[in-house]
């Protein structure tokens, strides 16, 4: 158990002291900060663009806090998810390729602990970024729009977080079973496309993670969407995938 704790602490320090502290937080926090501003200024931006081309563009209704929430949900679902897939494609394979795993795994650290510690620490890291980004969006929306009810924003962000944790688990498994980071990322993007297509079939939308593909945007728009089952199945599947990754890694030769 001490091996697990020490290795998990190493993962945490590695996040803080390498590029990892800048890339995903940088991307998400940038969009968290700019989203509400962009939503607030959309009429002015459109009108400025239109006047340059001699066209009068007028929105039918003024932007609301829901537009700011929508920006955040869109950023998470598109750029956030693709960044996550690309970054975590090498979660385990990068240590195998560089040889650093050899020195760790010949000490009292089981392969299961190695994989689970990585998945767990990065799940916490991802959760912290999403919470921080959502809080920033929330405060900024309140300042810019004068009103920012919590429900729509946080339900959208947390439902995306469940989906992101599922993809973190998928990438953990892929980074164990596919040697290259680019290859794992490619398969990850393919799986996302499959889930998006699966979301067309209503039973899957109601019960499976496929229901979380469009849920964040719908929730951010203030619509009522039942996400309990998709969230539960996503989290259960994430745990299963990490356990599978650990089992696969245990059988591999380094």
């Amino acid at each position: 158990m001490s091996g697990f704790r020490v290795f998990a602490r190493k993962e945490l320090r590695e996040i803080v002291r390498t590029w990892r502290i800048w890339v995903l937080p940088g991307i998400l926090l940038f969009f968290a900060l700019t989203g509400p501003v962009l939503a607030r200024l959309t009429p002015q931006i459109l009108s400025a663009v239109g006047s340059r081309q001699g066209v009068v563009i007028q929105l039918t209704k003024p932007p609301t806090y829901l537009d700011a929430y929508g920006q955040w949900a869109k950023s998470l679902s598109q750029i956030g998810l693709f960044a996550l897939i690309i970054i975590y494609g090498g979660l385990v394979s990068s240590e195998r390729r560089s040889g650093t795993a050899v020195l760790v795994l010949t000490k009292p650290v089981s392969r299961r602990a190695f994989v689970v510690a990585k998945a767990l620490v990065h799940a916490l890291f991802l959760t912290a970024i999403v919470v921080l980004g959502t809080a920033l969006t929330w405060v900024e929306t309140a300042v810019l729009f004068g009103s920012a009810p919590a429900g729509a924003l946080w339900s959208a962000a947390l439902s995306w977080l469940a989906f992101a944790l599922l993809f973190l688990a998928i990438m953990t498994l892929l980074s164990v079973s596919v040697g290259s980071q680019a290859g794992a990322a490619g398969v990850g993007i393919g799986l996302y496309a499959l889930l998006a297509v699966a979301g067309i079939w209503p039973p899957l939308t109601t019960l499976s993670p496929a229901g979380l593909v469009g849920a964040p945007s719908a929730l951010a728009a203030g619509r009522n969407v039942a996400v309990l089952w998709p969230v539960l199945t996503s989290l259960a599947l994430a745990a299963l995938l990490v356990a599978t990754a650990a089992a696969v890694f245990r059988r591999q030769e380094l």
């Binding site: 050899v102 020195l103 010949t106 009292p108 089981s110 030769e253």
Partner: protein
């Protein structure tokens, strides 16, 4: 004496390549054991199996009395390992890495701090504040040795530990390995024969995935030294060498640059009786004839058929 490493009938097949082909080996506990072999002989594969990084195709390997197939944290806690090219987290500093490595063995607090201080000194890295990413290969190798010793292991497995070191670093490392004799079993692979001769009690010579000889160094040299006859004549050495090559007891005949004839013989007594007669029948003047002891390099070349290191 109990065995620190016991390998029986070990094979490892990669596709069509047989990296290990029925390897048998016993390493006595407390010894400094040299594992010699040319490149591609299977040294690294053996070490990877012993450390649980790879699985054998067939056969068994036991470390400290336990089958490596069932290796767990308890067994790994008794082993120190240095791979041929050690890779570290490059964002760490040496002190941090050793503290991290010690922590994985459950060490902490002042005992760990003391050990890290001693090991940094041993590795010549005291006061080095550069991140590991900026280290030379020699510095990394020294740090690799230090991390392998952080748990004061019962068995130290080293893959080519001196390959990246300068002469002084090599000398210091070999002295340090020799000082562990009796307390820690040191099992190290190398193709540097001088290193083995300097510090090892016993040696195994590996060729094409098989152990072709295993014995204490002195015994190995004695065994093969008795089979080497050196002959020096004034003239006609080429013709004599040709005749020697046809003798039933001659296994190999070689000419040295200074004109001597070196004969590896299967029956030293027969050779000693026959060679003077051959020289006399050719009316040559015999300047020297002795049964020279083979050094380890000659034993190695003899055993692996001159495939080189």
């Amino acid at each position: 004496m109990t065995a620190a490493v016991e390998i029986a009938g070990l094979t490892k097949v990669f596709g069509r390549t047989r990296a290990l082909d029925g390897l048998d080996l016993v390493v006595p506990e407390g010894s400094v054991f040299g594992f010699l072999g040319p490149n591609g002989a299977g040294k690294t594969t053996t070490l990877r199996i012993l450390t649980g990084l790879a699985r054998p195709t067939s056969g068994t390997a036991k470390v400290l009395g336990r089958d490596v197939a069932a290796a767990d944290n308890a067994l790994r806690a008794s082993i120190g390992f240095l791979p041929d090219v050690p890779a570290f987290y490059e964002w760490m500093r040496a002190e941090e890495y050793l503290t991290f490595a010690g922590g994985l063995f459950g060490l902490d607090g002042p005992p760990l701090e003391d050990r890290v201080t001693v090991l940094l000194d041993l590795a010549g890295l005291t006061g080095v504040k550069t991140r590991i990413g900026g280290y030379s290969r020699g510095m990394k190798q020294r740090l690799g040795v230090a991390q392998a010793l952080v748990n004061a292991p019962r068995l130290l497995l080293l893959d080519e530990p001196t390959s990246a070191l300068d002469p002084m670093g090599r000398k210091e490392l070999l002295e340090m390995l020799a000082s562990l004799r009796g307390r820690t079993t040191v099992f190290f692979s190398t193709h540097i024969l001088g290193d083995v001769e300097r510090v090892c009690d016993s040696v195994a010579i590996l060729d094409r995935g098989r152990v072709v000889a295993q014995a204490p160094i002195n015994e190995l040299k004695r065994r093969y030294g008795a089979s080497k006859v050196v002959v020096e004549v004034d003239d006609g050495a080429d013709e004599l060498a040709a005749e020697l090559a046809n003798a039933s007891w001659a296994r190999t005949v070689a000419r040295t640059p200074d004109g001597r004839i070196e004969v590896i013989v299967s029956d030293a007594d027969a050779a000693r009786r026959a060679i003077p007669a051959m020289v006399a029948s050719r009316h040559l003047a015999l300047r020297r004839m002795d049964a020279g002891e083979l050094d380890l390099e000659a034993v190695f070349v003899e055993l692996v058929g001159g495939s080189g290191t």
